[in-house]
């Protein structure tokens, strides 16, 4: 089976280089002998509902509003994210999957409603390194770079991806990101999967259902110890 990774709207939500997450997932599969394909889905395309993984990245405010409208206009994509695929959503992408988003002028507009979260602008921008303890067993510390003004409130029963030990994250109750069975949401750039290969393998394990042998990537442990020391 070839795993298809749908990179959604890199033309609109590509500001923070989160497209790298697609490369990382594809390479980690190929290095283990599993064929992988990246499908780039731009604003001019009709998104396929058949991808095993969907990726959404961060972007600027006007781009985010455009992306929200685009996502709401493709119901089959929403269904795939809800019922069949794994989704990694970063920053603006995370906010878009929630119930509502508030823009700088105080106007609320709807997100895709896949997550019971709501985002509003905070007092000041959160910019800098973040470290959190991942709520997934065995993943350990997550490292990444945040750059956003969103404060994201999680609804009752919504689990965070991590507990913040340095940095801001969601800006509510020291939580960072969101974790459901099908969605990994985070404010972490870097890209997040480059810095946290265990999180990449969590997604890939959910997709393939098979055990994934460890990969020994040069520089990986040096990178992590630079940011986690």
């Amino acid at each position: 089976m070839t795993v298809t990774i749908g990179l959604l709207l890199p033309d609109v939500l590509g500001t923070y280089s989160d497209a790298g997450n697609a490369t990382i997932l594809a390479q980690r599969l190929r290095w283990r002998g599993i064929p992988a394909e990246i499908r780039t889905i731009t604003a001019h395309d009709v998104p396929p509902a058949t991808c095993e993984v969907y990726l959404l990245g961060g972007g600027e405010d006007t781009a985010q509003q455009f992306a929200a409208e685009w996502l709401r206009g493709h119901d089959q994509l929403r269904q795939a994210m809800e019922t069949s695929a794994m989704t990694l959503a970063v920053c603006a992408g995370l906010q878009l999957l929630g119930r509502s988003l508030r823009d700088a002028s105080g106007h609320d507009y709807p997100g895709l409603g896949l997550l019971d979260i709501a985002t509003a602008p905070g007092r000041r921008r959160a910019v800098g390194e973040v470290v959190s303890t991942c709520t997934l067993p065995g993943v350990g510390s997550l490292t990444g770079f945040e750059n956003h003004r969103g404060v994201t409130a999680l609804g009752p029963g919504v689990a965070p991806l991590g507990r913040v030990t340095a940095g801001i994250g969601n800006g509510t109750h020291r939580t960072e990101g969101v974790l459901t069975d099908r969605i990994v949401g985070t404010y972490l750039h870097g890209p997040v999967l480059a810095r946290n290969p265990a999180l990449a393998d969590h997604i890939l394990h959910k997709v393939t259902g098979c055990p994934l042998p460890p990969l020994d990537l040069p520089d990986q442990s040096a990178l992590r110890s630079n940011y986690l020391r």
Binding site: G14, T15, S17, N147, D219, L223
Partner: protein, 420 residues
């Protein structure tokens, strides 16, 4: 220690307060140079500004000031423009690339009685500097992402420039017609000159800066449903020559790459907008060969190092046409404040195309780069210290690409070594 400023009378036409402030700044700069702390222009300019907040306005008064801004190519274009304008008169220029207000003050203070000033300005400071100097010409090269942590998102920068340019109705704005964000920012200019200077990377230009919809790109331009469209060009490049509707001028530059032809035509258009005669200005572009150490070939033991600076995805895209020969490649990446702390941008550089060469990852963020190279399928070595990294490469020609602080650190260490 006594520091003398070589008897320069700083800016004879300005008032006593500014003159005293300038003298203090020049003395500080000289001290900084003597102590080996650097070129001294930043600290010197800071001292002058601290003593006289109006120093920039006063030092610029009576000169024809030309500001060069944008994300990439500021230093190179300002060198090309300064060479072109020197054919018409004396020029003050912040040649070292200190592009904050303090660098502008230092350049004007060090050359106090020139007719012209060519000042490279960081895009975040263009509004403030333009407000102080009321420029004759503003050159706007391109607007893409750079140092997202320190700056703001590129849309916000464009909006800020758009407001600033509206306040200067007599300024000629020489703007790149191929960059949608530049066109939108320059849309408030009363006297625009549109140059088809090219855009090497449109990763940040896919959505409309005005309305947020996706832009439509064609072979001849771009437009948006909201009405924003590529303007009709006043200058363009055809067959390696700079063209307007009534002139054709040679663009025989020594700097490599298509991106520098674009910079050259921007510089030429700016010089002509300031009244400099086109023929001599075009001929003078040939004088520029090395720009603040960039493009220089430096002998290091048995190696000839070609030093290139690229600090963001667009800068790399523009530089790829300069590194086509499969030479060994040393890439040095730092993430200090002046570089931007976030290294994510490395994932928007197409390192995949360097498979056929020996590559070494170096710098304070060598591990981030090394991980990126592995995922790009590149076998490489990782050696954080740049001089040790050079030792891992063979004799002969080596391409060295570094980002901002890494570039300057390497130059300093190479020159120290050469003295030894």
């Amino acid at each position: 220690m006594v520091v003398r400023t070589h008897g320069v009378d700083p800016a004879p036409h300005v008032g006593l307060r500014t003159r005293a402030a300038v003298r203090a700044g020049l003395a500080t700069a000289a001290l900084s140079r003597r102590l080996g702390l650097g070129a001294g222009s930043i600290i010197g300019g800071r001292v002058t500004l601290a003593l006289d907040r109006q120093a920039l306005r006063r030092l610029a008064a009576g000169r024809r000031v030309m500001l060069v801004s944008g994300t990439n190519g500021k230093t190179t274009t300002s060198h090309l423009l300064a060479a072109a304008v020197r054919t018409a008169g004396r020029v003050a220029h912040n040649a070292g690339g200190s592009n904050m207000p303090d660098g502008a003050v230092a350049a004007l203070a060090e050359a106090p009685d020139t007719e012209y000033a060519v000042i490279e300005v960081d895009e975040l400071h263009l509004a403030a500097v333009a407000g102080a100097v009321d420029p004759t010409v503003v050159v706007l090269l391109n607007l893409t992402r750079d140092q997202l942590d320190r700056a703001t998102e590129v849309g916000a920068i464009a909006a800020n420039l758009r407001q600033a340019l509206a306040l200067h109705p007599s300024t000629v704005v020489v703007a790149n017609a191929d960059d949608p964000r530049v066109v939108w920012a320059a849309g408030t200019a009363t006297r625009p000159v549109w140059v088809a200077a090219g855009a090497s990377w449109l990763g940040d230009a896919t959505t409309c800066p005005s309305c947020g919809a996706t832009l439509t790109f064609t072979d001849t331009g771009w437009d948006c449903a909201c009405g924003l469209t590529r303007p009709v060009q006043d200058w363009w490049i055809d067959d390696g020559k700079a063209c307007t509707h009534d002139t054709v001028l040679p663009l025989e530059i020594r700097l490599p790459g298509q991106v520098n032809l674009g910079n050259a035509v921007m510089a030429l258009a700016a010089a002509c907008a300031a009244g400099v005669e086109g023929g001599p200005a075009a001929a003078a572009l040939r004088q520029v060969e090395v720009v603040a150490g960039r493009y220089a070939v430096v002998r290091h033991g048995a190696q000839d190092l070609r030093l290139l600076l690229a600090k963001n995805p667009a800068g790399w895209a523009g530089m790829l046409s300069m590194v086509t020969e499969p030479r060994p490649l040393l890439v040095i990446i730092n993430a200090r404040e002046a570089d931007g702390r976030d290294t994510s941008w490395l994932w928007d550089v197409p390192f995949e195309q360097f498979t056929s060469r020996q590559v070494v990852a170096s710098g304070e963020r060598a591990a981030d780069l090394g991980v990126r190279l592995s995922y790009a399928g590149l076998e490489h070595q990782t050696v954080p210290d740049p001089l040790a990294a050079l030792a891992a490469l063979p004799a002969g020609k080596v391409d060295v690409v570094a980002n901002y602080t890494a570039f300057h650190q390497l130059r300093r260490r190479l020159s120290r070594e050469a003295v030894r």
